[in-house]
């Protein structure tokens, strides 16, 4: 049920877009209103999430490190696994975000006959995750050709590299193939992954299915059921310049693609996908491990009333002398 119900939801979403445009002809709704609403939901939700997280106090240094911290000069330390200043932390964060460094260390425990408990390195999730996120980025970058006029050089360059092998016309993008492979792996990993399946929820499957739906509808539009993408660019330009015109005659396949994108975009800040912003707020990653160099005091600590031994001695001086207890200060 957890596996199928998100799929059913996806099919319903596709049907909504198809019925709405192919049968009911609500192009203005699906081409103008819903994209703007989705964008507003995205920005508002994103800002709210960041605001909410930024209010969390971070009183202590709790980085999880994997290397020797900075201490005495003659102890060899690991600068980027256990950073001690802002620069080193930035490098460590960059490795985490761009290369998924900590996922690379992923291990898997397996019970083998014997019985033997085996721990082995498991890089498949790292590989699948890397391929998925990087191709997703490339695809989004390439889509900027719909939103920018004139098209900047970086976008054309990405496109050129992506179509390096010049297979078929229009040229098959490498990123399209790779993202499909990665998505398939990520979905199958949850379904056939034993323990992973046990802990996977609706909200784990849904984004995967939704993104697969977006990718498949996009690829269908490019390679099979073509639609006039000149008009698509006109629509995106009118969205950006607030012209509020929808060119007629764009196929329903485009509106399905766009509607699924709108669902994804508006769902984004309210779901686990927000890890995109969340990674920057991970105190186990974004803090320098400098507790030995610098004293960090919990800002919540109330102002504590203290009484020193000196005060105590002052108060009870007479009694202490009387009973012969030695004093610090005569």
């Amino acid at each position: 049920m957890k596996i199928l119900s998100p799929l059913i939801l996806l099919i319903i979403l596709i049907l909504i877009a198809w019925v709405g445009t192919a049968l009911a002809g609500l192009e203005t709704l699906f081409g103008l209103v819903i994209p703007y609403v989705a964008l507003i939901l995205f920005i508002a939700g994103f800002l709210y999430r960041i605001y909410y997280w930024s209010r969390s106090p971070v009183p202590f240094r709790i980085p999880t490190t994997c290397g020797q911290a900075k201490s005495l000069d003659w102890i060899k330390r690991d600068r980027f696994e256990s950073p001690s200043n802002l620069f080193e932390t930035l490098i460590r964060m960059a490795m985490e975000i761009l290369l998924f460094r900590s996922l690379f260390r992923n291990t898997k425990a397996e019970l083998k006959p014997g019985p033997n408990l085996h721990y082995g390195s498991n890089k498949w999730l790292w590989l699948g995750g890397m391929v998925f996120h990087w191709t997703f980025l490339v695809i989004i970058l390439r889509h900027y050709r719909f939103f920018l006029e004139p098209i900047p050089f970086v976008i054309s360059l990405t496109e050129k590299i992506d179509s390096f092998f010049q297979v078929a016309l229009p040229i098959l993008y490498l990123s399209d193939i790779l993202i499909l492979a990665a998505l398939t792996f990520l979905i199958l990993r949850r379904i056939f992954g034993g323990p992973v399946r046990y802990m996977s929820l609706f909200q784990d499957y849904f984004p995967l299915y939704l993104i697969s739906g977006i990718v498949l509808s996009g690829m269908m539009m490019r390679y099979l059921t073509k639609t006039d993408i000149i008009k698509v660019k006109q629509l995106s330009q009118s969205l950006i310049h607030f012209d509020f015109t929808v060119p007629s005659g764009i196929g329903a396949i485009f509106y399905i693609h766009l509607f699924l994108v709108c669902v994804l975009v508006s769902y984004f800040p309210y779901s686990k996908l927000m890890h995109m912003g969340g990674i920057f707020f991970s105190p186990t990653r974004n803090l320098a491990n400098n507790s030995r160099e610098k004293r960090h005091i919990n800002p919540w600590n109330p102002d504590v009333k203290i009484r020193t031994y000196h005060d105590y001695e002052e108060d009870f001086r007479d009694k202490m002398i009387a009973s012969g207890i030695p004093l610090d200060k005569d």
């Binding site: 920005i43 800002l47 960041i50 930024s54 209010r55 969390s56 106090p57 971070v58 009183p59 900027y144 050709r145 939103f147 920018l148 006029e149 004139p150 098209i151 976008i155 054309s156 496109e159 050129k160 010049q166 078929a168 016309l169 229009p170 073509k226 639609t227 006039d228 993408i229 000149i230 008009k231 660019k233 006109q234 330009q237 009118s238 950006i240 310049h241 012209d243 015109t245 912003g277 920057f280 960090h296 005091i297 800002p299 600590n301 102002d303 504590v304 009333k305 203290i306 009484r307 020193t308 005060d311 002052e314 108060d315």
Partner: protein, 137 residues
């Protein structure tokens, strides 16, 4: 009895400054189209179809999204099967040739093919081998 209060120097609780920088970077980059694009894109490319040319190989509605598929089929059937004649939906015959057919009618490549392609950022690699007009021969 006398009590003292111990005040300590307090650390700030969050990094508002860094967060704002991050947000400005993220939203700035992602909204590039809104502030960096020129406003000329809404009307689409102005393509010039040469006057006096007969009807296209297929209907305009078909050609606009599908001409690259057609060219692909032409190329494959010429190069692989030496099949050089194309019969269109209304039974008319055309020679399957990029330069001799398409560019015979659309000899104004710069004002026709290129304008559309520049608008969409498509750069067909065909012209590194194929001639774009008969004059070049």
């Amino acid at each position: 009895m006398s009590w003292k209060t111990l005040s300590r120097e307090k650390e700030k609780m969050n990094d508002l400054f860094k967060i704002v920088i991050g947000l400005v970077l993220f939203f700035g980059l992602f909204s590039i189209p809104f502030w960096a694009g020129s406003s000329s894109g809404g009307n689409g490319p102005e393509i010039v179809v040469k006057e006096g040319t007969e009807a296209c190989v297929e209907s305009k509605e078909f050609m606009r999204p599908n001409h690259m598929h057609l060219l692909d089929q032409w190329r494959d059937s010429v190069v692989r099967d030496n099949d050089r004649v194309y019969t269109n939906a209304s039974g008319k015959h055309f020679e399957k040739s990029l330069t001799k057919t398409c560019l015979n009618c659309h000899s104004n490549k710069e004002e026709f093919c290129d304008r559309c392609h520049d608008y969409m950022g498509v750069k067909p690699y065909c012209w590194s081998c194929h001639l774009s007009s008969e004059e070049q021969i």
